[in-house]
Symmetry: D3
Subunit: 63 residues, 6 copies
Amino acid sequence: MPAMTIKLFEGRTKEQKRELAEAITRETCRVLKCSPESVDIVYEDVKKENWATAGVLWADKSA
Amino acid sequence: MPAMTIKLFEGRTKEQKRELAEAITRETCRVLKCSPESVDIVYEDVKKENWATAGVLWADKSA
Amino acid sequence: MPAMTIKLFEGRTKEQKRELAEAITRETCRVLKCSPESVDIVYEDVKKENWATAGVLWADKSA
Amino acid sequence: MPAMTIKLFEGRTKEQKRELAEAITRETCRVLKCSPESVDIVYEDVKKENWATAGVLWADKSA
Amino acid sequence: MPAMTIKLFEGRTKEQKRELAEAITRETCRVLKCSPESVDIVYEDVKKENWATAGVLWADKSA
Amino acid sequence: MPAMTIKLFEGRTKEQKRELAEAITRETCRVLKCSPESVDIVYEDVKKENWATAGVLWADKSA
């Protein structure tokens, strides 16, 4: 508490996930006045064929 | 907004995901009077060993 | 299986939820060749102060 | 994409949600090189009787 | 980790949530060999008009 | 209904998932007085580089 899930397109590097988790945790603690240990973040890598906006798969938009 | 997640057994084809995203987006816009651009759909492919109903994994039911 | 969650702004009527569930279930069964009984849909009503796009709460955009 | 859900204890103010959405969106765009418009955040307010850690409801821990 | 979300119809009592969280945490630790502190459970109370199976809202089934 | 999602680190065996699904379903039915058929559980295997606590990826903690 807080617990976050972050869906992003697959292909993000471990370095980006590391840096983003660090930054989001820092900002969350600053705004909500909570301890870092209470912040949990789970990334979900999503394939472009598994995400649609406006009824079109992103795999098709990129084509 | 609206944002949907759809969990389904893995093995569905890209064609099925494409057709379903299109149909769901169309029906959603018709009923909710929203624009297609506002409809986001994320599929989650679930392995049969990761889904249980009535306490039994689907991987075991299929056996 | 499939199991869906649909986040939408609060204020949608029960009639809209009823009609949308019906339509989405029908389309899902048609495309995935599954039985209606296997389709589960959960709506989540989201307040405008609980949804942000581009870093701005929708409660503030409407203002 | 990215799309985030953030579960937090109820009682956070609209000001905190506003400030946090702004900060997380800014950091996400910086690290992932994406546009602010692509960042969606949904907060879920959770009652203390609906969250348990180590098998104990937070409503009981506070007691 | 593990982190669970449990959607159930609204109306469950705090006593039931307390007892279930305790039992699930105990069983999880037994099977996965993890410590109780690592088990997080969040309940989501769902209204009957927000859950549909086979295309019918549970609010309508009860009618 | 109830419907559960359980995020756990990847590497859990099918035997553990089978045993845990069985135990959780049994306890849920006992406490909530519901039928086993109504209990749905979905596991989500999470890589250690996709889970952060206190701003640090578990992939880095293990290092």
